[in-house]
């Protein structure tokens, strides 16, 4: 998945001159994205020393941040058209976009604290950039999920679409945004949406600090091995 995103951003720059907007969406029925593959993360951790685990995690996070910072900074108007489960890394990808248009059945969540971690793909700084601290703390510290209507009222989502309509609404929005002079739109975007580089860096450091602890591997093991119906509930 990360390799695909890296290829995508490599192809993005040449397209900037001929396009005005970028819509990111998913064809998966269950939702936009449930986030990082925890099984993969757990299996990659097995047999490694704590230092090796952290070093691998840091290298991985640096790559993810390069991708999301590129999406965040592109002069194109970026729109995440989301539906269903929009959790963890999927939520963080949406937050890198300029606008989030959510199907009414969307749910947003940062479940990372359940594993003894914080979001590592820029979720906290980007969420803080967009919404008030009360919402940030509620989402982070309770690990609860919220629906599209709540996200709209919190200022996280720009528009709520009917079921199955997020992509259509995103296309109409992209078409509208594309009517304006690109230089002006890009300048406005740069002014309105600065990238919080310093906080993003600190987030990587804190994630790595937390990831070093054996309790995190144990939490990942429990999650991966849980065959019950409700491992996602806190």
């Amino acid at each position: 998945m990360l390799e695909d995103l890296e290829q995508f951003i490599a192809a993005l720059e040449p397209a900037v001159g001929s396009a005005s907007a970028l819509i990111i969406y998913s064809r998966r029925e269950a939702g936009f994205s449930a986030g990082a593959d925890l099984r993969e993360l757990y299996e990659a951790s097995l047999g490694l020393t704590s230092a090796q685990r952290v070093s691998g995690a840091r290298a991985f996070l640096e790559r993810v941040h390069r991708v999301l910072n590129t999406i965040d900074a592109t002069p194109l108007t970026t729109i995440a058209a989301v539906h269903g489960v929009t959790f963890g890394g999927g939520f963080e990808l949406a937050l890198a976009c300029d606008l989030i248009i959510a199907d009414k059945m969307t749910r947003f969540c940062f479940p990372e604290l359940r594993l003894g971690l914080i979001p590592g793909f820029g979720g906290i700084p980007r969420l803080r950039r967009d919404v008030g601290n009360a919402v940030v703390r509620d989402l982070l510290l309770t690990g609860r999920s919220i629906n599209a209507a709540k996200a709209l009222s919190a200022g996280l989502v720009s528009q709520v679409a009917g079921e199955g309509e997020a992509l259509r609404v995103a296309r109409a929005t992209a078409s509208q945004a594309g009517k304006f002079d690109r230089t002006t739109s890009a300048a406005a975007k740069g002014f309105l949406k600065p990238i919080p580089h310093e906080e993003l860096r600190r987030e990587i450091d804190l994630f790595c600090e937390l990831f070093e602890r054996p309790t995190v591997v144990e939490s990942l093991r429990k999650f991966v091995e849980d065959e019950g119906a409700h491992p996602y509930l806190p």
Partner: protein, 80 residues
Amino acid sequence: MKTLEQTTDEILGLAAQHFKIPREQLAPSDDFYKKLKIDSLRALELITRLEHHFGIELPDYEVQGVTDFRTLASRIQARL
């Protein structure tokens, strides 16, 4: 104010409609994970549907450990 019975009945109707199973196959004491053959991610669809229908917020930690429709109804009832 709805009664617990009314709320339960509306939940059963919504669950039947959303997961496309006959309403008469659902009972208040059913384990909805088993009866609807869903996992926790799909249970969130039901929670979202219920939030819209009843016009409430239902934090997922409030339904932690809840597996039957009647108890779910009591959690919703507390938010109406």
